[in-house]
């Protein structure tokens, strides 16, 4: 039986649970921080010793925690890239820009359990010798920013923040910075530029890898809200216990934002890889199925930028059999376990954990036109392929969606989309704006061609 596994959202929706510090403390809050600050240096067999911070970093690495923001990159590995010898301060930024359409998980944490994020951040900062951290929150989350500021103030009053935290000699300050409403501010280097007060143009990498040249050209860690909360649980459970949650290489829990044409849209925290897409859509405790009489058309599995999966698509996946050997298994799209690796193997991604369900009432041309318009509007316009390509695709799709299609528009769109991703752009927005077009047009080509043909015939017949 599939079920929710509430770890991060354990108390979020509990009756009477409030976002203030007292409530958090009543539920065992800041105990993990205390535990972290009390870690003693560990003597190693080679005579060297491992500092408490190093030990926490080690735990996060061993836990296999992967970033919850979109790329699913190993959190421990990301931390290991930080240049700790530069002599410059190290910054940590919590990416609370949550702007991928379909995603609404960080909002739940921020609104309902802000202190969990604060505690997770303090632990992560301690682990990385950070003394100044920022929460970059999207401009639209005005209420979220207010809640976080209050939580930070409470934490300061309780000496979880500030100088000499809990008398353990560790100093940390956290500031909330509100964005002004741009998708690109969720891209880590765009976020850093924005935080520096500049236009959020993502930086070129090389040379501006945040771990070396990040905020104010200092080493910087940018982690998602959910990732930072998970760090708390890694330290709480210990890496090996944490890794038992979820599946190998896809450890822990994820909050899935389920939206679209299902009966029960909402957020569901599940063990990574223990639940399939089918279960998330159809199981009564999750999506509860499609509206009556509707057939599934497609699923956008990881935020609107991920490649669409068409109903009935089948994928060959390598999975570990019971004997530990790789077994190739053919799976229906719906039977893909909802984890990082399976969706990558299926040519898409679990991205920000946002599933958008489309049923057979969906006009795929209109849906793609809508998505594409979003990306054209949000392209920062710094580099050529994304700037010009995103609007070009959007205009073409808008034309198609409004009865001015052409038979050849499917190929026309693919040719535009093929010129954008794959390292041609400064940041991954190039992929974000072209993947939906590439996947939708390829997988639903008959619909696009039919639409164009129909439009051409109608125009030829003289009725506009």
């Amino acid at each position: 039986m599939p079920q929710e596994y509430r770890q991060i959202l354990k108390y979020a929706d509990a009756p009477g649970y409030t976002p203030d510090v007292e409530c958090y403390l009543r539920h065992g809050g800041y105990q993990i921080l205390k535990k972290t600050l009390e870690i003693e240096p560990k003597a190693l067999p080679d005579g060297k010793s491992m500092s408490p911070a190093e030990q926490v970093r080690d735990q996060v690495k061993l836990s296999g925690l992967r970033g919850r923001g979109g790329a699913g990159f190993s959190c421990g590995l990301k931390w290991s890239f930080v240049d700790r010898r530069s002599g410059k301060p190290i910054y940590l930024i919590c990416n609370a820009d949550e702007s991928e359409p379909g995603t609404f998980k960080d909002k739940q944490i921020i609104h309902k359990d802000p202190h969990q994020l604060v505690e997770g951040m303090i632990i992560s900062c301690f682990a990385n010798d950070v003394h100044l951290a920022y929460i970059y929150i999207r401009g639209e989350f005005a209420e979220g920013a207010r809640i976080l500021n209050r939580a930070l103030q409470e934490a300061r009053e309780k000496n979880f923040l500030g100088k000499n935290i809990l008398g353990k000699g560790y100093d940390l300050e956290i500031h909330v910075h509100r964005g002004a409403g741009a998708y690109i501010c969720g891209e880590e280097t765009g976020l850093i530029e924005s935080l520096e007060g500049k236009r959020a143009y993502p930086r070129i990498k090389p040379p501006y890898f945040p771990a070396v040249l990040g905020l104010y050209m200092c080493p910087t860690i940018v982690n998602n809200v959910e990732t930072l909360c998970a760090v708390k649980h890694v330290v709480d459970l210990g890496p090996s216990e944490y890794a038992k949650i979820g599946t190998p290489n896809n450890t822990g829990t994820r909050i899935v934002s389920l939206s679209g044409l299902v009966k029960r849209p909402g957020y569901y925290e599940v063990e990574v890889g223990k639940v399939t897409i089918r279960e998330l859509i159809y199981d009564p405790i999750f999506g509860g199925g499609l509206r009556d009489g509707r057939q599934l058309k497609a699923v956008i599995p990881g935020g609107s930028s991920s490649k669409i999966l068409k109903a009935g698509e089948r994928f060959k996946l390598k999975r570990k059999g019971p004997d530990g050997k790789d077994v190739e298994q053919e799976l229906d799209m719906l039977d893909l376990p909802y984890d990082f690796d399976s969706l990558i193997a299926a040519g898409s991604m679990s991205g920000s954990g946002a599933i958008i369900v489309l049923d057979d009432s969906t006009d795929i041309v209109a849906a793609l036109s809508n998505l594409s318009e979003f990306y054209a509007h949000e392209s920062c316009g710094q580099c050529t392929p994304c700037r010009e390509g995103s609007l070009w695709m959007s205009k073409a799709l808008h034309r198609m969606a409004n009865g001015q299609g052409r038979k050849g528009d499917a190929d026309y769109l693919l040719k535009i989309a093929d010129n954008i991703p794959g390292g041609r752009t400064v940041c991954a927005f190039g992929e974000a704006c072209s993947w939906p077009v590439q996947s939708c047009v390829t997988k639903f080509k008959d619909e696009f061609v039919a639409r164009g043909t129909q439009d051409e015939e109608r125009r030829a017949a003289g009725s506009k």
Binding site: P206, A376, T384, L391, Y412, N419, G423, R424
Partner: protein, 566 residues
């Protein structure tokens, strides 16, 4: 990210480690680091620099060696590979003993990607060509394609790369983005936002080189628009460099736009004469009319920039009042003469001047050769000599407080007093006392420098050579029309001792002649000394006689000059 840099000669860098890379199969050895274009600090050598070293051109728009790297145009995308490493961190070898290359699945921008030992860069693969075509198509879909009325046509990177990488027809079936046209950015610049490809060269130059954060981008995505701060005109002394930097026709100079198609322009290497910096320029001229200055690269002087003050200071060359006739005056009557009859008269008059009764004032705007010949003449008469100092406010970049282009030359030739201008009073006194009876003035209106018309009227002989008429030429017994620098060849020595030559772009007006020419005619008769016939010979002769110029030859000056000790 960067600081405002002063343009200085970069100090000779310590020898740096070299690394070998391959560009399109050809091996090239390049330094591991190279000086940053703005700060001069050593930074890792990039792919585009390695390609440049082996003369492989990687097309680009936003990259400029003198600006911080932006990496936004994506035109310079190349493919590359690096040596595959074994678990022992040693390169894996192919059966033939060469290093096994692991080709990167993703392309890289050549302008920002550092090279590494053994790297192979592929600038001409089908995939690279496909990417370039794609980028160019993207840049052109919203471009107005108004080349026939665009000033940049003929020197436009969009045009050039379209020929190399473009397609013959457009598949763009949508409506173009429309943006502001004819935007008055400031007193000297007009912006056409539809032509702009958003490479941000202008923004980076203004912010990082000039230190004036005047330009920026508003709006998002394809609607991005370059603009100046609202209500604040783009008006710094270097604004016109953005017109040069603009790879397309978005930024145009109010002075130059619609004046001349650039392919008709003859380009001549020359120097700016508006201050002691001596920025290297290219003069654009057609049919003996000069249309513009553009800065010419010289790392020791002006990098690739020049100031607006100097750039626009050329209109005087085509002033209709120019002196174009030799004039000889006897008493109150001035008569138009010609060189053939005036020169022997002048020589005869000068010959009879007694030593000690002559003064020579040569402008520090004259060429070193002219000043040298004037000094020869002066020495023959044991004349009192001087030049006129000319100063103005300096700025932080190129504009020097010394507004004479050749003060150092005037000092080197001995014509200028020390300090410059300190003999002007003595000359005035000499005329007043009747001791000085002959005054030779080149390129100055001495009535504005303490030798008034009343004094000039007392002289037995006043010889004036100039370009434009003034109170001094009005009173002169002999008016010898001279040449603007674009009408002749010569050298200037800048305030730091950089000896530079300039070439002739256009023919002189009317009877005007290069001063060196008529001075050379005059000298043998008056002094008995004959100057070398050619300008090259004259320069070399002068270099032999002036200690500071020892060993310098005309040929050695090349296009960018030679630095000497002041």
């Amino acid at each position: 990210m960067s600081t405002n840099a002063k343009i200085e000669t970069p100090p000779t860098p310590a020898p740096v480690e070299k690394i070998k890379v391959k560009v399109d199969g050809r091996e090239v050895e390049v330094p591991k680091t190279m000086p940053d274009g703005v700060t001069g600090k050593p930074v890792p050598t990039t792919m585009i620099q390695a390609c440049h070293a082996i003369k492989v051109e990687v097309p680009h728009y936003c990259y400029h060696p003198r600006l911080p790297v932006a990496g936004n145009c994506r035109m310079c995308l190349v493919e590359f590979g690096t040596p595959a490493m074994g678990p022992d961190r040693k390169p894996i070898l192919n059966p033939d003993g060469t290093a096994k290359i692991l080709k990167s699945p993703r392309p890289a921008i050549a302008c920002a990607t550092p090279i590494s030992p053994g790297m192979e860069i592929y600038t001409n693969t089908p995939n690279v060509r496909f990417m370039r075509e794609g980028i160019l198509e993207f840049l052109l879909i919203n471009h107005p394609l108004d080349c026939p009325i665009c000033d940049q046509a003929g020197e436009c990177k969009l045009q050039e790369y379209s020929v190399d990488h473009g397609q013959t027809s457009s598949r763009f079936a949508e409506i173009k983005v429309h943006k502001p046209k004819r935007v008055d950015l400031g007193p000297r610049i007009i912006l056409d936002d539809e032509r702009c490809i958003l490479c941000t060269r202008c923004i980076r130059f203004t912010r990082d080189v000039v230190g004036d954060d005047a330009l920026g981008i508003v709006n998002r995505g394809s609607y991005n628009t370059i603009t100046a701060y609202p209500g604040k005109p783009f008006d710094n002394n270097y604004s016109l460099n953005t017109v040069d930097l603009c790879p397309v026709g978005a930024l145009t100079s109010k002075d130059f736009r619609f004046q001349m198609r650039v392919w008709f322009l003859k380009e001549t290497k020359s120097l700016c004469t508006s201050c002691g910096t001596g920025c290297n320029v290219v003069v654009g001229s057609r049919e003996d009319r000069m249309f513009r200055y553009k800065p010419r690269e010289n790392d020791s002087v002006n990098a690739t920039w020049m100031c607006d003050h100097g750039r626009l200071n050329y209109r005087w060359i085509h002033n209709p009042e120019r002196l174009v006739q030799v004039t000889v005056r006897n008493g109150a009557a001035a008569t138009v003469s010609d060189w053939k009859s005036a020169m022997p008269q002048l020589a005869a008059r000068l010959k009879s001047a007694a030593p000690g009764t002559v003064a020579v004032i040569g402008s520090a705007r004259q060429t070193t050769e002219e000043l040298f010949l004037l000094a020869k003449l002066a020495r023959h008469f044991q004349a009192v000599t001087d030049s006129v100092p000319r100063t103005g406010p300096a700025d932080h970049l190129l504009l020097n407080a010394d507004r004479n282009p050749n003060s150092t030359g005037a000092v080197f030739t001995g014509l200028a007093a020390t300090p410059m201008g300190s003999n002007l009073g003595k000359i005035a006194e000499g005329i007043r006392s009747g001791r000085i009876k002959t005054l030779i003035v080149f390129g100055e209106d001495v009535t504005r420098h303490g030798i008034g018309a009343d004094l000039l009227a007392r002289l037995d002989l006043l010889v004036a050579s100039d370009i434009l008429p003034n109170a001094t030429t009005k009173l002169a017994h002999f008016v010898l029309p001279g040449c603007a620098h674009v009408e002749k060849r010569g050298t200037f020595v800048n305030v730091k001792g950089h000896v530079q030559k300039f070439m002739k772009a256009i023919e002189p007006k009317g009877d005007a002649r290069a001063e060196v020419e008529f001075l050379k005619e005059l000298l043998p008769t008056v002094t008995g000394w004959t100057a070398p016939r050619s300008l090259e010979g004259l320069f070399n002769q002068m270099a032999g006689e002036i200690p500071a110029l020892q060993g310098v030859t005309w040929a050695a000056l090349g296009d960018t000059g030679v630095r000497v000790q002041i």
